[in-house]
């Protein structure tokens, strides 16, 4: 079985398992994408991820049905489209792309944004179910401050009690240790697999990373995820050793960073436009986002690792991180997705762009889009921006050739 086949099989298994659990009367959890899932896995709670689901609905070009439903309910067209899709789904309860069971518990972690606090608070209220909140204070300092770590550790301990009350089961600390170990190992394979894109040409087609991402969200803490990422890694390694690039039908001419999430409803056109010019997205901020690593059984270390997500860090960190990606992945250009859904990423993009341009001299472009709302994207604007990027990258290449 190839990793792609395994991926498709696991996605199906993940959703079927969740639907089956609901049928059997077992509780289902809805959780945010970079939450301490170790606690849920330890408790054996079946979990689905609304962000994954909204992305799938977006890619299937079905998002508007749910978005329009939410907007009719009073949600502004200016709020996160994942939230609008998901809250629409909570009412409509059927999508051609994929069905998911409704939750019995909400599990929310604010390390990705404050928007999820509002979104999940609303879900819990709407569905009248309990919510477990992990508040991870924004790090305006370069490192995570000690009193934040203590606060987060306190929340983990409190969440364990809440989970014990919810499941009426004791929390199994031995199993917790095992899950922590496995989660760390899975994250390591995810990172190692995506790191193969450092090789020139990159064996990894960056848009594939977007697909595998769904699984690092929902399968970090179990054997399936561990096997999948190890297999993907091995495939990348084999390809790299043979000197194979990202595609069979074209050569990798330019290597770029894609800043921000995909435009799911326009995935094909955004990908094909890049490929047409031989542009491969070799990395983004996402490989590091799920490289959640800490010492097994170290609750404070775990809290700190989760709080260290890129989106939760300050501009100096973000700049250093992006500079490192440019160097490590031999990047020649950057595409910044000004994603109408994600204010947290958008409103520092301009400053990051200036700093990276100054530090590295590589060109970049910004385009307007959205992660799931198909209305906020223009194919013509996108193509024009990509053409401009190609011209700038080509000029740099030419200058290099001439020494």
């Amino acid at each position: 079985m190839t990793s792609k086949e395994m991926l498709n099989h696991l996605v199906a298994k993940h959703y079927e398992g969740a639907l089956q659990a609901k049928k059997e009367g077992r509780p289902v959890v809805w959780a945010t994408s970079i939450c301490p899932q170790e606690l849920l896995e330890t408790m054996g709670l079946v979990t689905v991820y609304p962000e994954n689901h909204a992305a799938a609905i977006g890619a299937r070009k079905e998002a508007l049905t749910f978005i329009e439903h939410s907007e009719a309910e009073g949600y502004s067209a200016d709020i996160c489209s994942y939230a609008r899709v998901n809250m629409g789904y909570a009412d409509i309860r059927h999508a051609e792309a994929q069905d998911i069971p409704l939750p019995d518990l909400i599990f929310c972690c604010s390390n990705i944004c404050n928007t999820v606090i509002k979104w999940y608070e609303n879900l819990a209220k709407k569905l009248n179910i309990p919510l477990i909140m992990f508040d991870m204070p924004f790090n305006h300092t370069y490192e995570v401050p000690a009193h934040s770590v203590k606060y987060m550790r306190g929340q983990i301990e409190y969440a364990i009690k809440q989970l014990e009350d919810f499941t009426k089961k004791k929390f199994d600390y031995d199993k917790f240790g095992e899950v922590m170990k496995l989660s760390n190992a899975t994250c390591e394979w995810w990172k190692k697999a995506t790191d193969w894109a450092k090789v020139k040409p990159s064996p990894l087609n960056g848009f594939d990373m977007f697909n595998y991402m769904a699984m690092i969200v929902c399968m970090r803490g179990n054997e399936d995820g561990h096997k999948l990422f190890k297999l993907w890694h091995d495939e990348m390694e084999a390809k790299a050793k043979k000197g194979k690039g990202p595609w069979n039908s074209a050569e990798e001419k330019y290597r770029i960073i894609w800043d921000g999430i995909a435009c799911w409803p326009h995935l094909a056109v955004t990908f094909k436009t890049l490929k047409k010019y031989g542009i491969n997205m070799v990395t983004s901020t996402y490989p590091e986002s799920w490289n959640v690593r800490y010492e097994t059984n170290d609750l404070s270390g775990m809290a700190k690792a989760y709080a260290s997500n890129y989106a939760n860090r300050n501009l100096d960190y973000d700049t250093d991180n992006m500079k490192k990606l440019v160097d490590d992945f031999s990047v020649e250009g950057i595409v910044y997705h000004s994603n109408r859904s994600c204010k947290l990423m958008d409103f520092r993009q301009y400053e990051v762009q200036r700093r990276i341009a100054e530090a590295t001299g590589i060109p970049s472009v910004v385009f307007d889009g959205d992660q799931t709302d198909p209305r906020n994207f223009s194919e013509a604007q996108y193509e024009t921006r990509i053409q401009a990027l190609v011209e700038m990258m080509e000029k740099n290449k030419e200058a290099k050739r001439r020494g």
């Binding site: 909140m133 009193h147 306190g154 409190y158 501009l315």
Partner: protein, 375 residues
């Protein structure tokens, strides 16, 4: 000075913030220190011998801010960055900025780059306020801010300084609660716009002088005869009710504000501080006890019920929503409390606003029809 003169003084103060702050600096001999929305520990600033000044945006042409922020950013924050870049805030010794939403987090980071000559002290409030770890974190964060203020001012803050500032601020908040209650009984004297300006003046004045002024206004009002009001009374909710021209429309249509749930107004003072423990615990208690606030996580989401209770208690006729465009937290709360208010049979008027708006005709028509409907 008669209480009417004090009202005029405060209205003028609110309409001309730069002039007011300059005068206050001269009068008190203190340096000014900026306070971003939503909450900042003003007591610490005051205890440090500084004059806390509110930074709630304003009407200005947005040009320089585009270097940092896309157009779909809330207008208060775009204005603040614009003012920072063009030097309007140069009189400030520093600013405190809380990271209550994703936009504020970014503004925090952009400020460091865009306005490097005005030092920033970020503060991160806990969202899990009801558990011990959240409460302890809040007290530690407040003490960290105190440390930052000491670095900026070069002055050590004693517990006595803080206690004194805390008492003053608790007194200010008590007085403001009394003011809003009293003002509601004299809608002919304290119309919607005047009410807003009188509350807003507090952001630009030393709280000692300001609290005294408000006390005198309350006393003056209480000497007046209460008259029956021919119009209708509404409870208002949202970030703020600006531009102030909007409020003329409410007065024209005989709509008085019976009470508010505005971030810029009552949310600042409706919750008293804790009564036990250290000054840090009392300060933390005030944040942890705040209910129905969109910027503070609350599993039970009590805002809708709170608005219903306010309408009943104040015998108001409706709720008016001032929705600041691009304010995610406010926009997320709306569908939830809308449903609850509808179920309770309370009429609602939803107005989308931003600070740079200059055409009010559409809003005028809507307020007018709403007032006719209520009458």
């Amino acid at each position: 000075m008669s209480y009417q003169d004090i009202i005029k003084k405060l209205e003028t103060a609110a309409l001309h913030p730069a002039k007011t702050v300059t005068e206050q600096i001269r009068k008190t001999g203190k340096d000014a220190f900026g306070c971003f929305p939503i909450y900042t520990p003003e007591e610490i600033i005051y205890a440090a011998g500084l004059l806390p000044v509110g930074m709630w945006g304003g009407k200005t042409e947005l040009k320089l801010a585009d270097k940092y922020l896309q157009s779909f950013c809330c207008s208060i924050m775009r204005s603040n960055i614009e003012y920072g870049l063009k030097g309007t805030y140069n009189m400030l010794k520093g600013i405190i900025l809380p990271t209550f939403c994703d936009t504020l987090k970014c503004i925090c980071e952009n400020w460091k780059a865009a306005v490097p000559h005005i030092p920033i002290v970020p503060i991160v409030y806990p969202q899990n306020r009801s558990i011990d770890a959240g409460f302890v974190y809040m007290t530690e964060e407040l003490q960290r801010v105190k440390g930052e203020m000491e670095k900026i001012t070069g002055r050590t803050l004693s517990d006595d300084d803080l206690e004194e500032a805390w008492e003053l601020y608790e007194e200010y908040r008590r007085t403001m609660r009394e003011f809003t209650d009293t003002a509601a009984e004299y809608p002919q004297i304290i119309g919607a716009k005047r009410r807003h300006l009188l509350i807003k003046a507090g952001y630009f004045m030393d709280k000692r002088e300001y609290t005294q002024d408000i006390r005198e206004i309350i006393a003056g009002l209480k000497d007046e005869e209460k008259k029956p009001f021919a119009g209708n009374r509404v409870v208002v909710t949202g970030l703020l009710a600006e531009p102030a021209e909007l409020l003329d429309i409410f007065e024209e249509n005989q709509l008085a504000f019976a009470a508010d749930d505005l971030a810029q107004e009552s949310r600042q003072f409706r919750t008293p501080g804790g009564t036990e423990g250290s000054v840090w615990q009392r300060m933390a208690g005030r944040i942890c006890d705040q209910r129905g606030d969109t910027f503070l996580y609350e599993e039970e989401k009590s805002r809708g019920q709170m608005l219903i209770d306010m309408v009943k208690e104040k015998e108001a006729d409706a709720v008016v929503i001032f929705m600041m465009k691009f304010c995610d937290p406010e926009e997320f709360d709306y569908p939830i409390y809308k449903k609850e208010l509808e179920a309770a049979g309370i009429p609602m008027l939803y107005l989308e606003i931003d600070q740079q708006m200059d055409s009010f005709e559409q809003i005028r028509t809507r307020v007018q029809s709403f007032a006719e409907m209520l009458a």
